[in-house]
């Protein structure tokens, strides 16, 4: 393999002063036609292209990205990876993803720095604890690692957390998934882009889709800022703009796009050992390899495409974190930002065929799409290649909003992550 990454290639290239590294991915001009087009160069889109090429040998593929790859929610999230979902359908999908994460650096030959430091979901009320047992129990029966911790066990893992029973909402316990963790978000996009590129996929940046053409009920290609590109199959996976793209195809979606904010502290020496999430006080926190505390909360209430939200959400978020970790009061917030999350009524995604033949949508991941990146790409590639959903995503079709077969994961996904 050309320019395979390893300690040896690093040494070899050091000798030549790093002048001979090849491009991680090319920046080709679009061709007139492809076998499949993926709209959206985020982690999910790039993963889809990668698995289309690798698993289904469909390599005449273009990934069209209106900005820079990984520039949407892939590069704006708090990088939490876990699979402790309540309902079978969601648990199986996210667990597939987690399994892919576990070998992803080796699979892609790109270190995505997946750090399995465990994910803790705190419970503050008796009902929280019932829900925690319910979810942990379901996880275990689904073969997913999950345990329930007492406050003392929580304190043992996270020595600075406040488990005082005098707190406004004292910590009563937690569920814990040791295999969960965090990853380097940008690297996931770059690793998949490089992997897909190696199979011949064209990753085309600064190419915005402005229309979806169809004829006799079948998709024929997309109009872009760089001209029309033909393809018999178009997969749309463009979080933040799903409704807009659906509109191009004359489809209505059960989606609302909300701002989701996140923030980081200044870099600190290691002080957090795991990922801590709390629905009741609305916040979650982890520490990155670089040392920053990475903090997030829930969505802003209103529809917003501005990649920014309201300051009051940040205030509430920080208050929640200081409530959990009173020692972080003197730590400083370095930077905040926002993304656009496409929220579905049941907090579960849509990975589905559409009424337009050859047009597929993968959207509605809400606040939790990052963790699903490899799994989402894997099942979406299958769906596009075979024109039928894989067993893992069959339940996540558009039809469920008409039959009522929703997969209500608000309990597991009610707070952003």
């Amino acid at each position: 393999m050309k320019n395979k990454y390893s300690i040896f290639s690093l040494v070899r290239n050091a000798v030549s002063y790093h002048q001979n590294w090849s491009q991680a991915w090319r920046s080709p001009d679009p061709k007139p036609a492809y076998d499949a087009i993926i709209v959206g160069g985020g982690g999910h889109g790039l993963a889809t292209a990668y698995y289309l090429a690798k698993e289904h040998s469909i390599t005449r593929v273009a990934v069209l990205e209106k900005g820079w790859i990984g520039g949407g929610n892939t590069g704006r999230n708090t990088t939490i990876v876990r699979s402790n979902y309540l309902w079978d359908e969601a648990a199986h999908l996210y667990e597939k993803s987690l399994k892919l994460w576990e070998g992803l650096s080796q699979e892609l030959n790109y270190n995505v720095m997946f750090s399995q430091r465990g994910v803790m979901n705190l419970g503050h009320t008796l009902q929280d604890m019932r829900d925690i047992v319910r979810r942990s129990s379901a996880n275990q029966l689904n073969g997913i690692d999950s345990e329930v911790l007492t406050p003392a066990q929580i304190k043992n893992i996270e020595p600075t957390i406040n488990i005082s029973q005098q707190a406004r909402y004292p910590i009563l316990g937690a569920s814990f998934q040791p295999r969960g963790g965090v990853a380097r978000h940008d690297a996931v996009a770059w690793g998949f882009a490089r992997g897909a590129d190696r199979y011949g996929v064209d990753v085309i940046q600064n190419c915005e889709v402005t229309g979806i053409r169809q004829q006799n009920g079948s998709v024929t290609g997309v109009d872009t800022t760089r001209g029309f590109i033909a393809a018999p199959k178009v997969g749309v996976v463009a979080a933040g703009h799903s409704s807009l793209l659906a509109d191009y195809a004359g489809l209505r979606m059960p989606i609302e796009s909300h701002p989701l904010q996140a923030l980081v502290s200044e870099p600190l020496k290691p002080v957090l050992n795991t990922v801590i999430m709390s629905n009741a006080v609305h916040g979650y926190i982890s520490q990155s390899d670089k040392g920053e505390l990475v903090v997030g909360a829930g969505i802003d209430s209103y529809i917003g495409y501005g990649q920014r939200g309201s300051y009051s959400v940040i205030e509430g978020n920080i208050a929640a974190i200081v409530e959990l970790f009173p020692n972080f009061s003197r730590v400083k917030m370095l930077r905040q930002w926002g993304g656009i999350v496409d929220v579905c009524p049941d907090a579960c995604p849509i990975i589905s065929l559409t009424p337009v033949k050859g047009l597929y949508f993968n959207c509605g991941w809400g606040t939790g799409g990052f963790k699903a990146t490899p799994g989402s790409g894997w099942v979406f590639a299958y769906t596009i290649a075979r024109n039928t959903p894989h067993g893992l995503n069959a339940a996540f079709d558009l039809n469920r909003f008409y039959t009522g077969a929703l997969i209500d994961e608000h309990g597991a996904a009610g707070v952003a992550h």
């Binding site: 409704s243 209505r252 059960p254 609302e256 796009s257 209103y302």
Partner: protein, 94 residues
């Protein structure tokens, strides 16, 4: 941080308000006559417009009135507010 001009109370901080999503979704008069598709469309499908968007707000910590606003969902600028039952400046009748 939005500042919202409640049509009853005047300009107030966003924190006094709660959001209601898309405006002018009329509950079907005879739901039982709708197909599952049409009912599902009413229940879940939303315009989710990027740009000028008619939406509902409630002055929850104030007069507790619901009203409509035309807001640009990208710039967040509120172009107009109008009471329930009033004509939208964008012309969609209540």
């Amino acid at each position: 941080m939005l500042s919202i001009d409640c049509p009853w109370c005047g300009s107030r901080d966003q924190s006094e308000f709660s959001y209601g999503g898309e405006a002018h979704i009329v509950r079907p008069k005879e739901p039982e006559k709708l197909s599952d598709e049409d009912w599902g469309d009413y229940l879940f499908n939303r315009k989710n417009t990027k740009g000028r968007f008619e939406e509902q707000w409630c002055h929850t910590a104030g007069c507790r009135r619901w009203f409509n606003a035309v807001r640009d969902s990208q710039s967040y600028k509120i172009e107009a507010v109008y009471k329930i039952g009033e004509q939208s400046p964008d012309g969609i009748p209540e």
